[in-house]
């Protein structure tokens, strides 16, 4: 498996989120720090899809201890979680 840089991780996560937005305005933009759930860009069902994507794409297992929705609420938080799990935490 090719080692991903942080920038590469951010791009993959951002792309996946962008492909699953529930808003159809072409002008929608979101930063890596934006809370995509609070802004209404994705619905609550997406959390489970996001979890599956993160586990499969980055080959990690997300424990119950990491399941807080805040860990999945922004691109940065997701990448931070992935890096933490990759580091064996």
């Amino acid at each position: 498996m090719t080692l991903l840089t942080e920038a590469g991780m951010r791009e993959k996560v951002r792309s996946y989120i962008a492909a699953n937005l529930v808003v159809y305005d072409e002008e929608v933009v979101f930063s890596d720090e934006d809370n995509i759930f609070a802004l209404g860009f994705v619905n609550s069902l997406f959390a489970m899809q996001l979890l599956t994507f993160v586990e499969q794409e980055f080959d990690i297992v997300v424990d119950n201890d990491d399941m807080e929705i805040i860990n999945f609420s922004s691109v940065s938080n997701i990448v931070n979680l992935v890096q933490k799990k990759k580091a064996g935490a």
Binding site: A19, N20, S44, A47, L51, T52, Q56, N64, M67, I69
Partner: protein, 379 residues
Amino acid sequence: MSNLPNPIVQEARLFAERELRPRATEIDRKEELPRDIIVQMAKRGYLSATFPEEYGGLELDPVSYGFFTEEIGKACCNTRALITVQTSLIGGSLLRWGTKEQKEKWLPAIASAEKLGAFALTEPLVGSNAKAVQLSYRKSGAKYILNGRKKWISFSGIADFFIVIASCEGSVSAFLVDRESEGITVSPMSGLLANRASHIAEIQFDQVEIPCENLLGIEGGGFTYVVTTALDHGRYSIAWAGIGIAAEALEAMVHYSRNRTQFDKKICEHQLIQAMIADAVTELHAARALAVRAGELRGAKSADALMETTIAKYFASKVAMKVATDAVQTHGGNGCYNEYPVERLFREAKVLEIIEGTSQLQQEMIAGYGLRKYYLPKR
């Protein structure tokens, strides 16, 4: 089915033919799933078909599990419903979100039928808007206390434990609750259109105390994770349930039309009957193809699996209703008589368009997906 490579699925077909189909009508009329059938299912591993072997399971892959569900569902919808609840809803939730201790306590017990579970989500005032559950919980020391009511809970009439979805100030959590806990009252429901032998009941919770270790998943993750997981597994099961009903109805339609004579010829020789049969064959094959595709994606743990499962459930439940309706039509007056199984299949098919998320909810999700996937900004 002409190609059943999995020996477990082939054995299930024989079991269904011998043990379930001859009793399906009686089971429906008496509104009871006999204990001996539950025990026979457990002995064969059928209540834990997808569980890992360490928990007494058969480790069936998703596609094989689908065909297995079809074979059971063709013969008896109520027995199939038992599998949906034990294996998909309860088993799926525990395997994904249970602690090691919770899995070890409940999964082998389900596998052996020593204990049966029920998934308590729906309430008198909460159906499609599942996130708005009103049954409440509060933490008190080392316990949680539950208050409220659930309704339409399949197999709760005979279940030994429940997965209960409750809320506390807007935060939704899931709990494992022993039926023998003080304060629980179960009231069986009758007069139902379908699933009459699925022991559907209301459950009242009055100051029910449960230990903190009975929390399933994380506090606040009840809807986002546990319910979503359960419904995803449930929808996959219902997709194959629809295929089972459609297949059984088609076989009934073919058999009847090849034996019934009107206007001096077999009714299968009348073109408008042939039209219904042609549509039934086409729709059944299409539904099965969608469900197989969903199963393959589930096996590959693809991120696309959830949406393809939604599509399969939506389509297969519609097909079940359509084919069952045409099967009744083909049978004429006999189709409206409970001596002919198509009467039961027609009732059972309708429910599939409602449970595990109504067809309208599925349409909303599929439309949202389509509006993203098939959008080309520039043409």
